[in-house]
């Protein structure tokens, strides 16, 4: 097994190579506005560091969000195109699951990332591998009761300490954690998610009422 994992659903552009047992190489750069520029050079660097060519990879793993759409699509499009060009499967992993896995917390906790517009993407977990709720997007104040007293992981938690009173790192997802989680699930014979984006919000678009009358009143 040789997995190439990548995630662009948070401000981090992250890539890792995992052989089923361990992480061979990884890269993580934080720049919320340059996912498109940073991802391919990062893939190239990670492969070079591990001394392997892309066509040795047996599967692609991609974070499917939720996360800001423009960046999110960079990772998904890259993963899907690699899969098609190489003829290897492309697996999706919820980005919040990757964060939960990296947090290494036992018991119940919350993962929250920054959804912008004063909202967070979040889900509840019980231990590093078990998600209890579907990923959702909400204003922190609206979920205060549901997350009260729970440890909370991720930039979304750190951003809203009034709601997430026990906030902690890691801030962003790492492809290394994503790859390790995917490797575990694949080894256990579990199905992974399809590589489809979790948008959670509808596109902003309004049906125009009518054209604007131009004749002066």
């Amino acid at each position: 097994m040789l997995l190439l994992a990548l995630d662009t659903a948070t401000p981090a552009v992250t890539v890792a190579l995992h052989d089923g047992a361990t992480v061979l190489a990884e890269s993580r750069q934080v720049d919320a506005r340059r996912h498109g520029e940073l991802l391919l050079p990062a893939v190239d660097r990670v492969l070079a560091e591990a001394g392997v060519k892309l066509d040795a990879v047996t599967a692609i793993v991609t974070g499917v969000g939720p996360g800001p759409y423009t960046g999110l699509r960079v990772g998904l499009m890259t993963a899907e195109t690699f899969g098609s060009a190489l003829g290897v499967p492309v697996h999706g992993v919820c980005t919040l699951d990757g964060l939960a896995y990296a947090a290494e917390l036992d018991g119940d906790f919350v993962v929250a990332t920054d959804a912008r517009r004063k909202e967070v993407y979040w889900a509840r977990y019980s231990g590093p591998r078990t998600r209890l709720t579907d990923p959702a997007v909400d204003r922190p104040a609206e979920i205060a009761e549901q997350v009260a007293g729970l440890p909370a992981v991720g930039a979304g938690a750190l951003l809203y300490p009034d709601t997430f009173t026990d906030a902690r790192g890691p801030e962003h997802v790492s492809a290394a954690a994503l790859a390790a989680l995917a490797a575990e699930r694949l080894a256990a014979g579990q199905d992974l998610d399809p590589a489809r984006p979790l948008y959670l919000r509808r596109p902003d678009a309004q049906v125009p009422k009518n054209y604007k009358v131009v004749t002066p009143k």
Binding site: V23, E26, S27, R28, Q29, V30, D31, R34, G36, E37, L38, L39, L40, P41, V43, D44, R45, A48, L54, D55, Y69, T70, R73, V74, L76, M77, T78, A79, E80, T81, F82, G83, S84, A85, L86, A102, P170, S174, A176, A177, A180, P197, Y199, P203, D204, A205, Q206, V207, P208, Y211, V213, V214, T215
Partner: protein
């Protein structure tokens, strides 16, 4: 289209276009079109009366890989045979462009092929090579669509595109969309207005011709005043309780647009001593634009080149055509950190790499690398 006739020593290039609402993947060998696969999200935008960027970007992501695979099948080539991948790097909708650029980079990287980020407008010009053979040098190009109205002069489509003029407000195609909306004819407006106009009198109503005064810029366009004038005329009729003569309004409005477009394009050719004019972009499908341009070019001794409508609207073949020309003329490939540039200047036919070959870049400005140990243990 004659794939069998293509010379195998000419570059085989796959081109990807996602600057607006069409996911286009084309494959060409030299100047021969082998495949032109398109997935359009236009129907999803219709009820909004215009392209919604987020809707377009989502549709590109879904359609991309199936469209690439369809194009390869249609062309009867395998990805390994390709000599390069080209992609629209700009101008266009930022989020939409980024989907195409991401796909092109991943595809080129996975296949070990050079990547060419190219200009959408130069591609609109270069596509004519697939219809009429090598572009004469120089060529004057009039590009008209919902997104652009430009007059460009090129002596080498891979390195020299000079802007002569452009719209100072709305694009020509935008004016068609807006008038169609005032007339309740739906979106997009171009084809439906063309249809009604065929049964109307282009001289029924005299609408203004923007920027055609003696002191106005010779090659720039303006359609905003025309649009307002047509809308006012229609409203006046409605306010008076009279029927709006849709056919005559369509014909007269359309005439005002194409009169200015062709007049300025022919004048630019004469002034610059250029005897080839190409017309591209979605509005090039307009039947009256084609007819009037033909008439005026003939009178002026100018050869007119207009590709078939399917090649005039946004498509991947045009991007592949320009990519093939980049390969043929040994232009340097783009780097792996190629970005989508929504306002890529028209004077940049492509985005050349900073480094020879495909050496990975090490630009770590504004970026902090996180060391391995505190990341994952």
């Amino acid at each position: 289209m004659a794939p069998m006739a293509s010379r195998t020593d000419e570059p085989l290039v796959l081109g990807i276009e996602t600057s607006c609402d069409e996911t286009g993947v084309g494959i060409v060998r030299g100047t021969t079109l082998l495949a032109d696969a398109i997935a359009s999200s236009v129907d999803e935008h219709a009820r909004f009366g215009g392209v919604v960027p987020e809707v377009a970007s989502r549709a590109h992501l879904e359609a991309m890989v199936p469209t690439i695979e369809r194009a390869l099948k249609e062309a009867g080539v395998t990805a390994r045979d390709l000599d390069g991948i080209s992609v629209t790097a700009g101008p266009g909708l930022a989020g939409a462009l980024l989907v195409g650029v991401s796909a092109a980079k991943a595809y080129a990287y996975a296949l070990g092929k050079p990547l060419y980020g190219v200009n959408h407008l130069a591609s609109h010009i270069c596509v004519d090579q697939l219809e009429h053979g090598k572009l004469p040098e120089p060529t004057m190009a009039l590009l008209v669509s919902g997104g652009h109205s430009s007059l460009l002069l090129s002596s080498d489509i891979t390195s020299d595109v000079r802007p002569m003029g452009a719209t100072i407000d709305d694009a020509a195609g935008e004016a068609f969309d807006k008038i169609a909306r005032v007339l309740n004819l739906g979106f997009p407006g171009g084809p439906v207005i063309d249809r009604y106009a065929r049964e109307g009198d282009p001289n029924a109503i005299t609408f203004p011709r923007g920027l055609t005064g003696p002191r106005d810029p010779a090659y720039d366009f303006s359609f905003s005043g025309l649009k307002t004038s047509v809308a006012r005329w229609i409203e006046a009729k409605r306010n008076a309780g009279e029927d709006v003569p849709v056919r005559d309004v369509s014909a007269s409005f359309q005439e005002a647009v194409v009169d200015v477009l062709t007049r300025k394009a022919v004048r630019a050719c004469k002034d610059e001593g250029v005897d080839h004019l190409m017309i591209g972009g979605g509005v090039a499908a307009n039947s009256r634009l084609r007819a009037l341009a033909q008439e005026r070019c003939e009178a002026a001794g100018i050869r007119l080149r207009v590709p078939r409508p399917k090649l005039c609207t946004d498509n991947g073949a045009m991007v592949a055509a320009l990519g093939a020309e980049m390969v043929a003329r040994n232009r340097s490939a783009s780097d792996w950190d190629l970005s989508a540039d929504s306002s890529l200047p028209v004077t940049d036919p492509h985005v050349p790499g900073q480094n020879p070959g495909h050496a990975p870049t090490h630009d770590h400005d504004h970026v902090h690398e996180i060391s391995k140990d505190n990341l994952y243990s």
